[in-house]
């Protein structure tokens, strides 16, 4: 058996965490360095497997398997394909940069990094596992540390934000648990043995009525994380309360668990139900995109703006899911990656601003480009990515989603008008996005220098790490999207093939 590289990625943060337990509380620098190294190991390995992955072959690669609870068919089995690998890379990138974004943490440094690493490990697990049971296990492993991280190290209304976020997530995961158990039991009946293995379960032909119900449960469970309107409110409140690094991880990665779950589990297992619920998802995605963007526009707190912008951008992912074709799903996965990188960059920079000015109120900020040109440049880069400027990663993703949603093959002739209208309205989101992104850039960084902020310093040293790493990623995949899209496409193809083959039942409307 070859080197278990996925386990290494997953266990590097765990190892770091264990080492941290034995480092005295006072050695803050050592603690930070250990955390950085632990995530760096994951990052390097993730980059390595990203480029070692054979796109022409597709499918699951770097597989590992250890039987854990054989009576119930539960296995510790890891593997990545073109859908999960970009997200593993995303987790590694955001996890690594999040450590540097929390370099200035003052209180209880040791506990902070321990929880942070636990969170990162949990997310890695969700993206890598091939077993539904472990999927749920890792999923919850990600939820709990985020509660503690927000409630201890958070800021504005942190108790409220942390509790809200956790309750939303736990309610979502409860729906998910029911759906997973139901799926496993149905699968056990059909297959004759208990298994939680994703591939085995995907072979089962689920009854259409069953599909509709379980798909809906999963839609709620994963929808909370996406966050899908009207289950989105944890996002703005949670982000505002969370410390910088946690905002990065929440918006950058945890939201992607939802989209990933929808594509990997819901669409793959329940193609007929996907057809049934697609119009519903499309409508909600439209609300997400337009409503989210417009609400983002009128916010007065910088983090609220970014929080709602995530709601809006993840709406594109939902639109991609709802369109149920190759282009749109390719775009949805790419959008998850691109949005994760972009929004993590945003939050890192907002953290830099907040750390220096101690405020995030748009009305009080202004002219900061004079004092912090690097932050301003980074923020503009993230903003441009956010509004889908060509040459940056988000553009390719959004373009594919739009094209997929706009040109849904099966709806080309009859009955296309409704869906196309939804697509057109959703595309108009790019205009609103431009309005709110450039508005905050203008209000925060442009304009005459304010005397209040005289003498603030620009970012330097390790603080530059998030800007450089994440900014480079945005540009790299923006200019060379084939490195990303080809990989995704190879793995989306079987799912789309299954959806296409599914007898198209009428949509919900």
């Amino acid at each position: 058996m070859s080197f278990p590289v996925l386990s290494a990625i997953l266990l590097a943060p765990v190892a770091g965490l264990l080492i941290l337990l034995f480092i005295p509380e006072r050695e803050e620098l050592t603690i930070k360095i250990v955390s950085a190294l632990a995530t760096l190991v994951s990052l390097v390995l993730s980059v390595a497997i990203y480029f070692l992955y054979d796109s022409s072959q597709g499918g699951l690669q770097f597989c590992e398997e250890i039987s854990w609870l054989p009576e119930w068919g539960i296995k510790y089995s890891l593997g990545v394909d073109g859908i999960s690998l970009p997200l593993v890379l995303l987790t590694a990138l955001v996890g690594f940069t999040a450590v540097f974004a929390s370099w200035d943490i003052q209180r209880r440094v040791k506990e902070f990094f321990i929880f942070l690493l636990m969170l990162v490990a949990g997310i890695f697990g969700v993206f890598m596992t091939r077993d539904l049971f472990f999927f749920y296990l890792f999923f919850d492993m990600a939820v709990i540390p985020s509660y503690l991280l927000i409630i201890i190290w958070g800021s504005t209304r942190k108790e409220y934000g942390a509790m809200k976020l956790t309750l939303y997530h736990v309610v979502g995961s409860a729906f998910l648990l029911v759906a997973i158990i139901a799926t496993a039991i149905y699968g056990a009946k059909a297959l004759g043995y208990f298994t939680f293995d994703l591939y085995s379960l995907s072979q089962v032909n689920f009854d259409v009525g069953f599909q509709k119900i379980v798909f809906f449960l999963m839609l709620i469970g994963f929808g909370v994380l996406v966050p899908m309107w009207p289950l989105h409110l944890w996002a703005p409140d949670g982000h505002v309360a969370a410390p910088t690094a946690i905002s990065m991880l929440l918006a950058g990665v945890i939201m992607k668990l939802g989209g990933y779950g929808l594509i990997r589990v819901a669409l793959w297992f329940f193609p007929e139900a996907a057809h049934y619920w697609a119009p519903f998802i499309a409508l909600l995605s439209l609300v997400n995109v337009i409503y989210g963007a417009m609400v983002a526009m009128v916010q007065r707190d910088l983090k609220f703006v970014i929080g709602y912008s995530s709601v809006s951008h993840m709406g594109y992912v939902l639109l991609g899911v709802a369109a149920l074709n190759t282009l749109s799903l390719d775009g949805a996965v790419a959008q998850m990656f691109a949005h994760g990188v972009m929004t993590a960059l945003f939050f890192a920079l907002v953290g830099n601003v907040y750390q220096r000015t101690h405020t995030r109120e748009l009305a009080r900020l202004g002219g900061l480009a004079h004092q912090m040109p690097r932050v301003a440049a980074g923020f503009l880069l993230a903003g441009l990515a956010s509004l889908g400027l060509p040459g940056l990663n988000n553009f390719v993703a959004e373009f594919l989603i739009f094209l997929g949603a706009f040109g849904r093959e099966d709806l080309m002739l009859g009955g296309s008008l409704a869906f196309r209208t939804v697509a057109i309205l959703a595309i108009s989101g790019i205009v609103i996005t431009a309005v709110y992104v450039l508005r905050i850039v203008k209000n925060v960084f442009f304009g005459p220098p304010l005397p209040e902020w005289e003498g603030l310093s620009d970012v330097r040293g390790v603080e530059m790490v998030p800007i450089v790493v994440l900014g480079f990623t945005l540009i790299f995949f923006g200019l060379l999207p084939s490195l990303q899209i080809n990989m995704i496409d190879a793995s989306v193809a079987p799912i789309v093939a299954k959806i296409k083959a599914a007898k198209a039942i009428g949509g919900i409307f």
Binding site: M294, L327, L400, I430
Partner: protein, 627 residues
Amino acid sequence: MANLYWIPKAWLIPLLPALAFPFIAFITRKARGLSALTAILAIGVSLVISLGVLWEVIAHGITMDNPVEYSTVWLQIPQLLKIEAGLLIDPLSAVMLLVVTLVAFLVEIYSIGYMEDDPGFSVFFAYLSLFGASMLGLVLANNYFMIYFFWELVGLCSYLLIGFWYHRAEAARAGFKAFVVNRLADFGFLLGFFFLFIIFHTFNFRELAAAIPAYHNVGLLTVAALLVFTGPIGKSAQFPLHVWLPDAMEGPTPVSALIHAATMVAAGVYLLARAYVLFASLPNVMLVVAYVGGFTAIFAATIAIAQRDIKRILAYSTISQLGYMVMAMGVGSMTAGIFHLTTHAFFKALLFLAAGSVIHALHEQDIFRMGGLYKDMKVTTVTFIIGALALAGIPPFAGFWSKDEILAAAYHNGFLGLYILGTLVAFLTAFYMFRLIFITFFGERRAGLHGHESPPVMTIPLGILALLSIFAGFVGTPFTARGFSTFVYYAAPHEVEPDYMVMALSTLVALAGIALAWWLYGRPSDLPERLKESYRWAYNLLWNKFYIDEFYLWIYRRIFWGLAEAFHWHDRHVVDGLWDGVGDVTRASGQKLRYLQTGNLQTYALVFFTAVVVIALWMAGMGGMIR
């Protein structure tokens, strides 16, 4: 085509400035001279290659019908999507390449002088390089996707450069406005070529050109064409999305010259030319294009006669001239539109740079606070007048020939109304330009403002552009054999027949416009003031640009923003209220139920035991029933 030398190197044209951007931004930012040198060197080499490309296009008989195309796959999804990165070199792009690189080269040299005291000197050159790269990429694009790609990037550069002096709130606001208005247009453009893609499954211009004539669903095609046309409406500042261009004058003047007069704003016209096969097949759409252009031309010209800011006057003149070009496209003469684009690029860049020279000397933009500048700024004055003559359409300056071709095309293709409109615009153009000249350069010196001539690094580009403004028109006069119209054309090359009536009339009205300007402003008189007083309402309407900005602002502030506020309220009170309500109900019921908890263990135990007994009895009863 084996012995081509320059054309296969055309990919270097956008690449060199593209490399200059990060080079300046990251390496030479501290060294100002080196930054300028890098930028100018990059665009200079691009200029040389562009000249080589143009020469080879002419020498090797590359025509509109047999262009050279190079392409590589940028992104491919099997059977569904193929996005190319490619170059399309035909006379159209070759001409445009030369215009862009030449103007950019001259403007960058000029900027050395204009921007010398600016702390953002290096950044300015970095942005200019990025702009050059994007614009050249746009020109060379062989498909809609790529043109959109660079279309957005030039929009970004425009945003960055308008807001270059970001410490000025107006500059930041103008950049914001420009980007958002353009975004609105690009949204339509994006949808337009999505429509084309779902019909034809390709973005490639040549493949589309081959497929469009065979397609017969006119309705769908019309929708697509109209949507594609919204792109030029935004980028080329056509009514009703023209509002961003005058505000864009907040940027440094070289930027106004290069981006907001000569090149980027012409990208819309260029797109129309590239997509001409789509428009030409749809007469109704052509009609829309023609009338939008014609209306914009006269609309902006009337606004220009009442403005006081030297750059704003030129900005409205740019809008008006772009309207001319779009009208030319609409009346069916792509040649005339591109010809006017070319000559306009030279003389409008000249006018802006000369105006920049004035602003550089005086730090003042209000023409009514200038006067008598010809005594101190001879070169600037002379070159400005040459530019104005070219713009006004006085023979034999460049603008005359191209404008004449547009008017002739309108007249001969049966658009009599647009022809009269165009002639009227010529009159207004001559009037407002010479109003500007008489007020600014002649008459008495005003208090406290003393001009001085700009350094040679600024005046030499002015001289070169002045020469181009005089002579560039000769490539396309009706008297030139094998001229512009046999080079850049749609469908078939044709020779332009001289129409002496059209020529004479347009010259006459232009001269009349100059005469009127002299009558009102060229001599001491209180007539303009009296006119202003007696036609107060008209003056107010023009001075306030027909209140269109106010109208848009009202929509933005009241309707759009109001809707957003309503959504926000809904989000916080209805949606959040709902879920928080669920939480509150849970909590409230807990508040009540907690009284069951007496804290007395014996009570609990009693309840517990009673329950066990009840269950036991119940099960016994059940057992009895089963039995």
